[in-house]
Subunit: 399 residues, 2 copies
């Protein structure tokens, strides 16, 4: 394996920056060669492969203050600071940084780009040995595969055991998978707004998104990078549909209601009369600038396949049997993608397994995306849980 | 105006049957000529235009037993019996027929295809005087326009006043519009699973569907009928997304859960591994066989534009002020497209207007589509409400 650090300067355009970012990420990169293949759940070895990641803060001498942050479907390793490709703030500015709940003055934060994604870690846009992008020839990856790859990253970093694994949505699935797969390597886990298995309704929404991408003639059976096209329209529709599920009915009503967009009356046409239409179209169009369509297929599929109990004889409690990891599960009242009932299933299983578990349901109208937003109660819970975990692990209190 | 009756026999294929059905419906047809234009909310006159409709049962001598059934987005005039184009049962077999809650042995049931649709009533697939389909040159239509056209149909049929106007979803919107626009022409109204205005979330879902259609290159800016293409893929994606909203999370879980489709293990590919995926794809593919893509755009837009209070100074109660129509509002607990809170808004406004109103929230896990399904409590409510309305209007009890 080798470690590389590359900086991107003065990329000609945002699209160019994204293309270059995928090849040469503005982050740390570790490549695993033929001697370290990744055995995938699909039953094949992935080799070589690489993980792009960012770290924030400083690893202490005892190597006991590392927190792994796992990102969601379309997230990446850029937690804080200006995103090198989009120029926007990182996706967890509210949560991570000096003095923030995940305090980078105290903790060493690692955020890897997941397997199958498009920000430097191996995914369908990565090139094979032959020099062409994988496209659909990349084997399907699972949440379990993502986590096994992350464990190899920790080996590479010389971190035997994490203080905590956390994340929201698919990031929470990974945190749960960590607690199940590597109970001795995670002192604590903090899964937020997630489930131990993807529901039929959520699979249905993902399938709509995939069908939208695949219906775009420019998708070219996944070979669009080779053929010089881009399934932008299909991917934008997929993002629009998904975006509705990240919010709540009441949040949409509060933000937009039936307010008109830059006009005083209905136009009796198919333009975006309503602000909510304009907002959705915007979400679709900015997304296709930053994300690879095949990665969207792969990662939604990984979430659909997630069913932690299935790997443990159908009994979720067995996934956590005997584990010493202390776990805090968080849900949001208005999250209808991963409702509190999903969180309760996890909590019941953890209790049945005799695990150390706490549970918080946060009252908010912000929907699933609440974990990304200004949500003071969430901040208090994360801060308190990490403080207690650090104390229990014998970390020195912050200066 | 003129009245025509045409039967379709031995159509070469289902698609052909649908095409012919649009031109020459297997139902009654009334054409309004230049002397009877329809003034649209868009501010222009539609002329000529036609309404296709079906009737069931017999109009009594007093012309006092007519019930108008208004259909939903993709419904049509074929309430019961074999659908002439699809060969399937009518969409309200559970509710309408001899001895059924809407009893055709007692009541004269009229079901018109709505303006903008594609089953015989004038819509974007109808031909202009020049002989080409309207496409997007048809002005946008509203729920108000649909109801004004229906009032012209009643004039044509010689029915001064309905015993009841009813329907679910967009059909319920029309029933409400009837009570607001023609209070003296509806003795009773029974809106089911609807709202007095379309919510931001519902507009958002419709916008996703429209964008999916418009993203299909075969849509050709709405000129696909002229250019000999068909935006099947886009329309199928739109239907899939919408279909999820017609069900409930728990219904999907009960029906499909994470069950696999004709296989014993995950295939680690993008085929429809899960039954819910296979089901959704099927829903998409059968829909494009029977529905016109531009009609889908027009009718979703009509629903988005629906905001009954807006036409009455922003106060919904004003829409019903002084009305003598007796109204029963019905909602379903698991309907998240038109949740009970929407129904309550209607009920509050009706109460504020001093109207005669009753309200039933039916406990079911079937979601929005419950109004189309076997729902005994709904049957009892409809039967009881119509019986009471008939008695109050002095109809003879059923032999």
């Amino acid at each position: 394996m080798s470690v590389i650090r590359v900086e991107i300067e003065g990329a000609a355009s945002r699209a160019e920056a994204i293309r270059r970012e995928a090849d040469e990420p503005h982050s740390e990169l570790v490549r695993f060669g033929a001697e370290k293949p990744l055995r995938l759940d699909a039953g094949v070895d992935l080799s070589p492969f690489q993980i792009a990641y960012k770290t924030y803060g400083t690893l202490n001498a005892e190597r006991s203050n590392a927190i792994l942050v796992c990102h969601a479907l379309t997230g990446d390793q850029y937690l804080i600071g200006e995103h090198p490709a989009t120029g926007k703030p990182g996706w967890w500015e509210t949560m991570v940084g000096p003095g923030k709940p995940i305090d980078t003055e105290r903790f060493f934060v690692i955020c890897p780009n997941v397997l199958g994604s498009c920000m430097g870690t191996t995914g369908p846009a990565s090139k094979t040995a032959g020099g062409e992008p994988y496209g659909l020839s990349l084997p399907l990856v699972t949440i379990g595969d993502m986590v096994r790859a992350q464990a190899m990253l920790l080996d590479h970093l010389g971190i035997e055991s994490l203080l905590c694994a956390t994340g929201g949505s698919m990031g929470g699935m990974q945190a749960l998978q960590w607690a199940a797969s590597y109970p001795k390597r995670v002192f604590a886990a903090l899964p937020i707004a997630c489930a131990a298995r993807h529901s039929a309704q959520n699979i249905a929404f993902h399938e709509v998104g995939r069908q939208a991408v695949m219906a775009d003639p420019d998708w070219r059976n996944g070979r669009y990078l080779i053929e010089g096209t881009s399934p932008r329209r299909g991917l934008a529709v997929a993002r629009m549909a998904a975006h509705i599920t990240y919010l709540s009915d009441s949040a949409l009503h509060r933000k937009f209601g039936r307010e008109l967009q830059d006009r005083k009356a209905l136009t009796f046409g198919f333009d975006a009369d309503f602000q909510v239409e304009s907002y959705l179209r915007h979400q679709g169009s900015i997304f296709v600038e930053r994300f690879d369509a095949n990665s969207y297929l792969y990662i939604t599929r990984a979430m659909d396949y997630f069913d932690l109990a299935a790997d443990y004889g159908g009994v979720l409690a067995n996934a956590f049997r005997g584990a010493k990891t202390r776990i805090c599960v968080v849900s949001f009242t208005s999250d209808w993608l991963f409702p509190t009932s999903d969180a309760r299933q996890i909590v019941h299983a953890l209790n049945a397994a005799g695990a150390s578990v706490s549970f918080a349901e946060i009252v908010t109208d912000k929907g699933h995306d609440a974990f990304l937003l200004e949500e003071p109660e969430l901040f208090e819970i994360v801060r308190g849980f990490l403080k207690a975990a650090a104390r229990a692990r014998g970390l020195k209190a912050k200066g």
